[in-house]
Assembly symmetry: C2
Amino acid sequence: MTPPLHLSLAGQAVDVLRELVLTGEIPSGTRVNEVELAGRLGISRGPLREAIRHLASEGVLILVPHRGAHVPTATPDDVRALFELRTALECAAAELAATRRTEADIVLLREVCAESRRTYQAGERFPHRLDLAFHQALLDAARSPQIAGQVRLVQQRVVLLRSGLRDDPPHQHASLDDHDALVTAIAAADPVRASEVMRRHLARVCSQMLTGLATAEALEASTAD
Amino acid sequence: MTPPLHLSLAGQAVDVLRELVLTGEIPSGTRVNEVELAGRLGISRGPLREAIRHLASEGVLILVPHRGAHVPTATPDDVRALFELRTALECAAAELAATRRTEADIVLLREVCAESRRTYQAGERFPHRLDLAFHQALLDAARSPQIAGQVRLVQQRVVLLRSGLRDDPPHQHASLDDHDALVTAIAAADPVRASEVMRRHLARVCSQMLTGLATAEALEASTAD
DNA sequence: CAACTGCCAACTGTCGACAGTTAACAACAT
DNA sequence: ATGTTGTTAACTGTCGACAGTTGGCAGTTG
């Protein structure tokens, strides 16, 4: 929405703070202290406050009057609601991609899929980097800047909720298959099928996150004893 | 996203400024002067800047480094892109509404439709208030807070682009029919049809806005002579 | 007369300090 | 011992002032 704000301190603070939160360096539930963080970033509280407000509007931080900002904690309902939104946006993107994609888009999508599979079979791991790259390539093929922007924000929140969770190989395998199926549908210019595959894919990812969240909670409860 | 911020001056400033922009009191293209506006609102520049940043993240204002904020002007491409997003969100909402609606939801939707038709036939006019009420009732029936929140933001931007445009009766008549068809599909628990009707409805509204925009531009060009 | 250059005013970006509120702690009363 | 209340420290909310940048204007030069 406001991408090239990299000149002002507030703009830089947005990027730095976003990274601090998304990488889990500032864990979920942590209260953000303005004076301390301002000192740590080497800026004043004014620009920092603007940055905090900005990230709050993105859902990366929660604002409570007179009690500052904190990193949101994920409840199962939050995950479900967020994935409803993500499904709405990315299914539409998949439809548009199936309609508007060029040959170059298909080549790129195939390339990302192939590299994902190579990396997975080699290191037994499907890095989030390639997952994001795939969804980004799909968004580019959809050629809808507004939808793309919203998806970016939603993905950001998904990453935020996922920090501290790890995913299991069977799910990763299924995701690879989903991606391949998506590319096939998009290459075949079949919007309906692309949307359906995307819906199925996201439903899988969502349920996987829910189980991951449940086990993480159980783990935390056991350590609390 | 941050609804009950009505305690701080920044929160109030957000509401006041939003209203000033959406009602067209601050016309499109106008540059916002921070010191002047701060004085007019009776607050300091700090809270006002936070409010401006917040509205910029909502798309109500555009920020340019070192040149302040201004109200965005609508190009046809902007309208099309925005309606792609709106279509993605509201079609999903229509699907969910067809699945989750209760009897009370249907009663409310029917009531809004009936009042819209009464008002239209009486005063030859379909007030935006009732149009928004219908879409709001549909969102409530969908029971998806995340989607509802995003739709609210998008509708806000649509209102912003529409300020200064007036709509013609034939379009209003078609919209009334669309709304009725939507309620029918939702009452029949038919998500596919609800989504299709919504898509058609929004396509109609979009094209109507595009023609309205074109005539407004032509009008402006003629007065500039 | 046109183009260039230096200056100037206005505005944004930033900072440090003050005021108001909240929450935790401690002292007291029951 | 427990509930209540007064106190206090820390933090957020807000303000006014300073510094840096931008765009326009006048003066100058070819």
